[in-house]
């Protein structure tokens, strides 16, 4: 009798759970996995040279560059999360920042403890000046170069004139696609010469 009661109770629980578990509804189709983000693994240079004698376009990779590319690819962690990648890439920056902070702190303490000699005032002024200029450079992004499109701006004209154009290029690993794709950041220009 006791067993019967237990079986009935278990059956009722299973039936009741059908509603909350949506057991009568077919399993949803697995949603497509989100597209993997492209990853920059190496920064290198690219020169586009128009060659009237060639019949096929060629992407020439020097052996030294190929070695560097192989090394960069060897370092790619296939399933690294965004957080892991961020942590991995910023370790050196964090350490550099910590040591810079320590440097300025210790320099300040040293100057404060070593009296008010003339030379020390000059050093203090130099340190404060360097800190101010550094802070201004960070705030105004003064250490950043011109955007990549700047170098490629004159590409169409250079190609038409048979001249070489040189600029930086990021090598990306994209999850899909056939062959290499060279994307040149060319801005449309207004009739007055301004970029859109």
């Amino acid at each position: 009798m006791k067993k019967m009661l237990l079986l009935c109770a278990a059956g009722l629980i299973v039936l009741a759970s059908v509603i909350s578990a949506d057991a009568d509804i077919a399993l949803p189709k697995p949603s497509p996995t989100p597209a993997k983000e492209a990853r920059v693994v190496r920064y290198t240079g690219l020169t586009i040279v128009p060659d009237a004698k060639s019949y096929e376009a060629r992407l020439q990779i020097p052996e030294s560059e190929l070695k560097g590319l192989r090394d960069a690819l060897a370092m790619v962690q296939p399933d690294e999360s965004m957080l892991q990648r961020l942590a991995h890439s910023s370790t050196r920056t964090i350490m550099a920042g910590v040591f810079l902070f320590l440097s300025f702190s210790f320099a300040g303490v040293w100057l404060a403890r070593s009296g008010q000699r003339r030379g020390h005032k000059a050093i203090a002024a130099l340190l404060v000046g360097t800190a101010l200029i550094g802070a201004a450079a960070v705030i105004t992004r003064a250490n950043a170069g011109p955007p990549g499109s700047f170098r490629w701006k004159g590409l169409p004209q250079a190609l038409s004139e048979g001249r070489a154009t040189q600029g930086g290029v990021q090598i990306e690993i994209v999850p899909e696609g056939n062959g290499l794709k060279l994307i040149i950041p060319l801005k449309k220009t207004k009739p007055n010469g301004d970029e859109e």
Binding site: A74, T91, R92, M95, A96, F99, L100, S103, A107, W110
Partner: protein
């Protein structure tokens, strides 16, 4: 009671320091000029061959001369300098062991290649902190010295090191040969103060020759590094880190600086500093004293000579492998220069 540690070694009057002058100031300056110019010409003309020959001939002997020089400057009793020397020798031992273990970890696949810059950055940071400690300890020995700047400077350099560890290591490779010139400057100020102005005028030749090498070779094609030995030589000079700079220029510059380094230890310092035969241990204070250690000093020098001969045998049989081994172990002499140079400042 004798306080050896408080007495600056060989801080004697010029007349008393070296009664028998072997060379004149002019001859000394002429030797410096000749070595510098000949080195620059050969380094620019045949950098690869010159690098191989100089390392083969002078790498081992210059280390032996450095060892002998450091033994000369070692106080018999440490006294107040005990902490300084304990930190110095512990640092040399630990940093050398760590430096040697890095490639072992890499080749045994314990350490991934991706972590290589991190490992280099950690080692460089430890080196800087050790140097700062030595400077701080040395500064504390004199009440008038305020060498607290060592810490902010070390931290600033550490920050630079973490931004680009490989370049920082390369900077050490290029800066180390110049330390020998500083040694010579300090040595002259103690033993030949009258020559100091002549020597410092001669030093002006170094940046001129460096500028000349850069000017002449910046546009030259890179050296072919299609074999293991050539690759080692160009890598040592930083060809991989500076791909846009001609490896001909880099190797030439590095060999030129190395030759200056060898010239100081093998020619200049023995010429002006020798007070007897090189194998006479009685010229070394720590061996000469009645409570000294002549047998230990003699054994150390003899062992050093054996290593020099072994290096020559090694270079003759397998140059590339011996070169790798030498430049790994030679970090010890680079480190040893720091405390002994600080003792002379």
């Amino acid at each position: 009671m004798e306080r050896t540690a408080n007495i600056d070694l060989v801080r004697l009057s010029p007349e008393r320091a070296l009664p028998a002058t072997r060379v004149s100031a002019r001859l000394f300056a002429a030797a410096l000029f000749s070595v510098a110019i000949l080195s620059a010409v050969l380094a620019g003309w045949i950098p690869f061959q010159f690098s191989l020959v100089t390392v083969f001939l002078f790498a081992g002997p210059h280390n032996w001369f450095e060892l002998r020089y450091f033994l000369m400057r070692l106080p018999r009793r440490l006294g107040r300098s005990r902490n300084f020397f304990v930190v110095a020798f512990a640092g040399i031992a630990l940093l050398t062991a760590a430096y040697l273990s890095l490639p072992l970890l890499f080749y045994s696949r314990i350490w991934s290649g991706a972590n290589w810059p991190l490992a280099i950055a950690v080692w460089n940071t430890l080196l800087l902190l050790w140097l700062a400690t030595l400077v701080w300890l040395r500064g504390k020995q004199h009440a008038r010295r305020n060498w607290g700047w060592a810490w902010p400077l070390a931290f600033a350099l550490a920050a630079l090191n973490w931004i680009t560890p490989e370049m920082f290591s390369l900077a050490i490779v290029y800066a180390h040969p110049l330390v020998a010139l500083w040694f010579l400057d300090r040595h002259l100020s103690r033993t030949r103060p009258a020559w100091l102005s002549t020597y410092r005028r001669c030093l002006l030749l170094v940046p001129i020759l460096i500028a000349g090498i850069i000017w002449q070779l910046s546009g030259t094609a890179s050296l072919a590094d299609d074999n293991g030995l050539a690759w080692r030589v160009t890598q040592h000079a930083g060809a991989e880190l500076l791909p846009n700079v001609s490896s001909h220029l880099l190797v030439s510059l590095h060999v030129f600086l190395e030759m200056l380094h060898y010239g100081v230890w093998l020619i200049a310092l023995p010429l002006i500093g020798a007070r007897g035969t090189l194998w006479n241990v009685k010229t070394i204070p720590v061996a000469r004293h009645s409570q000294g250690f002549p047998k230990i000093v003699g054994a150390v020098l003899l062992a050093g000579l054996s290593v020099v001969v072994l290096l020559w045998v090694g270079f003759s049989t397998n140059y590339a492998a011996t070169r790798d081994l030498y430049f790994a172990i030679a970090i010890a002499h680079v480190l040893a220069e720091a405390p002994f140079l600080l003792r002379m400042i």
